[in-house]
């Protein structure tokens, strides 16, 4: 299943609702382009909703990390929301769980950007 990305704004935060797989090829490129596009337009608060992401490979993890560092370099912030168990376990295994700000509730995630 390819990656689909839907964008919405909530209280000044851009929420990207991701669905599918973030893997080598189209999925990871789509994510990279979406985040870089937002940052280039000056968006400082980006929340990635991963509730419908069932698979991330090492390339996808690399894109998440790149998104995080690109955002930091531009004084922007990327946070993660609603990790599935598989993605949660993957981030723990790779010690990326401590890198990202991970939320399990959208309202509190939005509030945390203030």
């Amino acid at each position: 299943m390819a990656l689909t990305i839907a964008s919405r704004e909530v209280d000044g935060v851009t929420v990207l609702d991701l669905s599918g797989r973030i893997t080598l090829g189209e999925g990871s490129v789509q994510l990279r382009d979406a985040i870089r596009g937002l940052i280039s337009k000056g968006q400082k608060s980006i929340l990635l909703n991963l509730a419908e992401v069932n698979y991330i490979d090492s390339s996808g993890l690399g894109e998440l990390v790149s998104a995080f560092t690109t955002a930091k370099n531009q004084q922007a912030d990327v946070k993660l929301l609603n990790l599935t168990k598989k993605v949660h376990d993957l981030l723990q295994l790779t010690k990326l769980y401590t890198v990202f700000d991970i939320k399990d509730d959208e309202a509190s995630a939005i509030a945390s950007f203030k």
Partner: protein, 147 residues
Amino acid sequence: MKPVSGARSERQSLTLKSTVESVAVIEAAAKQQAAEAGLDEDECFHVCMAAHEGAVNAVLHGNEYDPGKKIAASIENNGSALIITIADQGKGFDPDSLPDPLAPENILRGTGRGIFLIRSFMDEVHFRQLNPGTELTMVKHLAPEIK
């Protein structure tokens, strides 16, 4: 570890192009064999992910998407283990020279986690330099080891 069926399967051999689509073919074949071997959902996921990462490495790092180079993969259940091999025709590499992706200085790198994931998910991981190329063998034990 819960013992699973000792049923063997014929070795499934694939020769594929160095494309992203070939990664999906190898992953699907691993998924089928893992399910037929009686692995549970988590174990199947781990085997599939390892096969996926091995195939990605062969396509991306080994053959560098070169249309003149092929990926050779095989998957077999020998009754006590699921064995997946993936070979590329690239320049070869030293797996012992790879940086540790968990080291603090490497955590924010955009690459370098594939082989770590393979080693995390499979019981045995072996590399053989083919000159040219590299063969990766990944093994998932299907039954407790009898000592």
